[in-house]
Amino acid sequence: MPLLLFTSLVFAGSIAAGLLGALTGLGGGVVLVPLLTLIFHVDIRYAIGASLISVIATSSGAAAAYVREGFSSVRIGMFLEVATTIGAVFGAFLATRVPTRALAIVFGLVLLYSAWLSWQQSRRAEPTPHPANPWSDRLRMSGTYPDGHGGLCHYSVDRIPAGFATMFGAGTLSGLLGIGSGAVKVLAMDRIMRIPFKVSTTTSNFMIGVTAAASAGIYLHRGYIDPALAFPVMLGVLAGSLLGARYLVRARVSLLRSIFTLVILALGVEMIINGIRGV
């Protein structure tokens, strides 16, 4: 394929991936890597490298808005970034040693998990009340967020060691697969540490960029980041996610979400089959 055509097609695909990522809250990388490997036949290592770059761009772009609204917690974010960055460095080292077939299979499994999570999102339960954990105040992680009626909601965090360990896993996945793994980060904060949903999603978005930056250096040194691919991918995903954040959040999305869930499911199955057959 000539470069100009390739760049245009990848750019268009990246915009779509960014839109879908913003719409579902799963991030662009989850769609982007299968798109590049299955349709454009790009080696998975180049795909992961380009995806990781787009993850940094969208996270930093979106996080800027949330900081001002007062939802994200800088202290919770920074504390858990210790776990995610160490995980990310570990994951990036793994990525350079693991055979690409195994990468494809792990990626497929993450896609299946994301599909399941996306399908479940409609039936989310409110966090159950829990006794205050003294470590929440000791580590200064308790806080408040605007409740939308001009008042402030108070919250505290729970089960910190388990949340920290899960965050290490989220960082490893991010470094291994070049995705933001926002889904795992929200799982750790939302389900395990019992942080209110609004705070956990925005804080997770904030952390994704720092986590991805930890493994980006290793990818760059290993030559995983190709300028011809990173250029359309980074700008496309960024444009798509900004558009998605601005217009699609208010749109009725339940039908789109169901379609997207099926697409992810199909992509996951195909990546696993390709990985097993060694294509």
Partner: protein
């Protein structure tokens, strides 16, 4: 802090866009083959070599520079957090932020 992130992403995007357009102009009709992985040339992987290419106006090097700007943005955010916590005299979180910064540096220099 929000402003810092935004300007970092903006600067990086502008640089990547400039480099990308120049790259397209120079190689528009060349075929692309990313089917098989060959590690990128060493010049594009180290900062000092990159500077040398940049002085020749190499388009691929401009794209890589934009990517370096992008990676630097979250790193700058952590540095600013260290300063902000130090002003608040929050010693615990100065240490926490410094640990994050150390891990980031390890990843970048390796």
């Amino acid at each position: 802090m929000g402003r810092l992130l935004q300007s970092g992403v903006l600067l990086a995007s502008a640089t990547v866009l400039l480099g990308g357009i120049l790259y397209l102009k120079a190689n528009a009709s060349h075929p692309v083959n990313l089917r098989t992985f060959i590690s990128e040339p060493a010049d594009l992987r180290s900062a000092t070599q990159l500077l040398r290419l940049l002085s020749h106006g190499n388009p691929a090097a401009i794209v890589q520079l934009g990517i370096l700007f992008l990676i630097a943005t979250p790193v700058a955010r952590v540095i600013f957090a260290v300063i902000a916590f130090a002003i608040e005299r929050d010693r615990l979180y100065v240490v926490v932020s410094l640990i994050v910064l150390a891990v980031l540096t390890l990843g970048l220099l390796h």
